[in-house]
């Protein structure tokens, strides 16, 4: 984190199965911060509960889309493979959307500066103000799912990282 000492914040939390909603973090960022690095991670993405209950729920969901009202065990098993925890992130700076991290990863990272930005973000000239991060918790599949959000700022382009 050598290039990002000017602003270092770390937040964490625990979510339980079934939680659906948005968690908003709002920061004041110092004027000297010109580049921001965001790292978000969560755990327990894969289903750890009762497999039979999940199988039943998946079968019910599939039956909504199958006119003949019959699904095979293989189709249910394949559908179960899609079940996963999902938390995505949107970022706004002084009220303007500057991008997000919407991908199927447990660790999502991005760097935003005036001349370059990681995929998902727009290059942004920071000059102090308000940074907002929305965690979009679409699907939490396990109790005690933990997440951690780290936001760091650098006064240059963060190249030392």
């Amino acid at each position: 984190m050598s290039g990002f000492q000017h602003f270092q914040q770390s937040m964490s939390g625990t979510l339980n199965r079934g939680f659906q909603g948005h968690i908003l973090y709002t920061f004041l960022i110092p004027e000297e911060v010109k580049t921001i690095r965001i790292a978000f991670r969560f755990n327990k993405r894969e289903w750890e509960g009762n497999t039979e209950s999940l199988r039943n729920r998946c079968r019910e969901a599939l039956l909504q889309n199958v006119p003949q009202q019959y699904v095979t065990d293989d189709e249910v098993t394949a559908a179960m493979g899609h079940v996963k925890g999902e938390i995505n992130l949107s970022v706004r700076y002084n009220g303007r959307e500057i991008g997000g991290m919407h991908r199927n990863l447990l660790l999502k990272e991005g760097v935003i500066g005036p001349d370059l930005a990681s995929v998902g973000f727009l290059p942004t000239r920071f000059c102090g103000g308000i940074l907002q991060l929305d965690l979009h918790c679409l699907h939490i599949v396990n109790d005690k799912t933990e997440y951690e959000l780290k936001v760091c700022g650098a006064d240059g382009n963060g190249a030392a990282l």
Binding site: Q20, L62, R103, H139
Partner: protein, 329 residues
């Protein structure tokens, strides 16, 4: 004479959860002869400028878009430059959010894969918004090629869209390849926009359509419900008086479709009417069909099948006609 433009209106890159870079997507789109492509990454517009730069000098025009990925369904917004915060979206009153999306600059709003499988398999993908004013949607993705059956719910989407149109709602139909990676199956529906030879502009005498950007023509066609989905044939319907004429163009070349293929196939036309009647006919002329429409009909939708009326043999759908006062005369 109609002109048709092929448009792919639902595509992702690694700016969100796709695996292709913007350049790789544009390379693929150009190689596959997309004429117009919307870039609709999930909740970000970061790929727009890159896509426009990459497409420059190629036979491909870009519509900057976004897939607004809410917990209650996915909305596609076209010609927009930013994400629109959905944290206050009330699924019982989505019209408030739709207005916010338009306020943010969206020229068109569509509903993506409305019957895609939902909880617990693909949470948020299936629409659970209650559209009390369906006309606030400009288009519905009646065929999504991303998830495959039975996850996609495409026939339900097609039937729902047809029901809305037969109730008189003016909503366009499109397909969505929903590209996240290079597709394994390219035998999928594409969208065609039917555009006129000239575009009338208020206060102007009319512009040759060739001089108008194709992306604009596609968006104009969506607004006028002049789009349809197809695996090759291109349809143009005209309803005047008691006659509906459907012209079929077999020159697209899409998925190898050709005049010869059309003549070797048994083309089957299906016309559903708002009276509840359904008209089905084997076409003896693969280029033209004429259907007599009763005086009590106001809205109709058209499908085209190949050889049998089975879902898997659907060739084209999404064509709609409305009897307005002018047509009655």
């Amino acid at each position: 004479m109609s002109r048709f433009i092929r448009a792919e209106l639902h595509n992702h890159t690694n700016e969100s959860d796709g695996s292709l870079s913007v350049k790789e997507l544009i390379d693929y789109a150009a190689a596959q002869n997309f004429e117009v492509m919307a870039l609709t990454d999930h909740n970000t517009v970061s790929g727009h400028l890159k896509a426009i730069r990459e497409a420059s000098g190629r036979n491909l025009e870009i519509i900057p878009g976004i897939e607004l990925t809410t917990m209650f369904g996915h909305l596609l917004a076209l010609n927009i430059g930013r994400w629109v915060d959905d944290t206050m979206l009330d699924p019982e009153r989505p019209e408030l959010y739709l207005r916010a999306v338009r306020h943010a600059g969206a020229r068109l709003i569509g509903l993506a894969h409305p019957f895609c499988i939902g909880e617990p398999i693909m949470v948020g993908c299936r629409n659970s918004m209650h559209f009390r004013y369906p006309e606030e949607l400009d288009y519905i993705e009646i065929y999504n090629c991303g998830a495959g059956d039975p996850l996609s719910g495409n026939m339900q989407a097609l039937e729902w869209w047809e029901e809305l149109v037969l109730q008189g709602y003016r909503i366009a139909a499109v397909s969505g390849i929903d590209l996240h990676t290079l597709p394994r199956n390219e035998n999928v529906f594409t969208t065609y926009a039917e555009t006129p030879d000239s575009i009338q502009v208020l206060g102007d005498e009319g512009k040759d359509a060739e001089s108008v950007p194709r992306a604009e023509l596609v968006m104009d066609a969506i607004m006028k419900q002049k789009t349809f989905i197809s695996k090759g044939p291109r349809l143009s319907a005209e309803w005047k008086g008691e006659w509906l004429k459907v012209r079929l163009d077999h020159s697209s070349g899409y998925l190898g479709w050709s005049e010869e293929k059309a003549r070797k196939s048994q083309l089957l036309l299906q016309v559903r009417q708002d009276t509840g009647r359904e008209w089905r006919e084997k076409l003896t002329n693969p280029d033209l069909a004429a259907v007599r429409i009763g005086p009590d009909v106001s809205h109709l939708v058209i499908r085209l099948y190949q050889d049998t009326y089975e879902d898997s043999h659907l060739l084209a759908a999404g064509v709609q006609c409305h009897l307005d006062e002018e047509a009655k005369q």
